[in-house]
Subunit: 195 residues, 2 copies
């Protein structure tokens, strides 16, 4: 079993048990063989993955949301985001979530990268999309979805990242990308919206 | 019940049920009253909180780790981090985790801010600490903890953030802070290590 490519830090699954099948959370406890041959358990959430959209308005402002996040017990300031539907393409999801949550459609899209919010106990990944050429329309919130849409300048959003107003990890990382893209360091490849 | 300070987006708990008490994961399903008076359920992980350490060596290099992260099924490149013990002070935890995982002690510390990795389904927060005046010693890994320590320049780490080598959210946010601190935009307040 020990091929030459095995990383010396690798952990190998020897068992897997579903420990929670909730309405939303789905968790497993796997038994793994550690690098020294001993065994340990790893508990984690299985997540379908998600997208985030950094929406750039023509006047340079950013499209933001205020949303009550129950585990935080407060309203959070964030970029629009949402979970992938089963089998859904990442860009299609980004377009759908932007439209549903904010009512905006974008002419051009660029995928900046992927982030993993919590590598120790969830499989979740979030694809980071930039959107420009925005046109406003009517939003289509899901039932039970309450959120406010507003716009802010990049300088305002950066100040909120510094002063602790914004602590949401995906939004902070959106600003890392925005800063480096605007500085000409991290280029983006733009593509038209898909139908 | 509806005081003047209530945010119109607020959700109010009406019930709470423990749905998972694992070895590591602890989850609840709360019933909440939504802004329109209807009810919904919110499932989330309760987490003790954590710290991350951006360690600055005297030669300008950064202290990094390679660690196998089972939910990702791969080795991840990260800043050192770890969970708070019950009742533990954040800086004491940062000093302990840095020492245990890397063997380094730091003369000066600065708290940059806090991030929330996954606001939709975990209470976890991560305090972001910067450390300088580093001196190497012998690390004290927990049993079942396997990780490699190495150093890299900020430019190398930034390139890994851009090219997808680094996707860990806390590490990406550490680099957002490092870039803005080094550019003189986000100052840090340094304090001596606590005994």
């Amino acid at each position: 079993m020990s091929g030459p490519e095995r990383d010396p830090l690798e952990e190998r699954q020897t068992d897997s048990v579903e420990i929670l099948k909730g309405h939303f959370l789905h968790a497993f406890r796997d038994t793994v063989e550690l690098p020294d041959g001993s065994h340990a358990t790893r508990e984690f959430i299985v997540h379908p993955g998600a997208v985030m959209v950094v929406g750039l308005l023509d006047d340079g402002r950013l499209l933001m949301e205020r949303q009550y996040r129950y585990p935080m017990h407060r309203v959070m300031t964030e970029f629009p985001a949402g979970k992938l539907d089963p089998g859904e393409d990442s860009l299609a999801c980004a377009q759908r979530e932007l439209w549903e949550e904010t009512g905006y459609r974008a002419a051009e899209w660029a995928r900046a990268g992927t982030l993993h919010p919590v590598i120790s106990y969830s499989t979740e990944h979030i694809d980071i999309w930039f959107a420009r050429g925005l046109t406003a329309g009517k939003r289509q919130l899901d039932a039970e979805e309450f959120l406010e849409v507003f716009t802010a300048t990049p300088d305002e959003v950066l100040a909120w990242c510094q002063d602790g107003t914004i602590t949401d990890s995906k939004t902070l990382i959106g600003m890392l990308w925005l800063q480096n893209w605007q500085a000409g360091r991290w280029p983006l490849s733009w593509q038209p919206a898909v139908p």
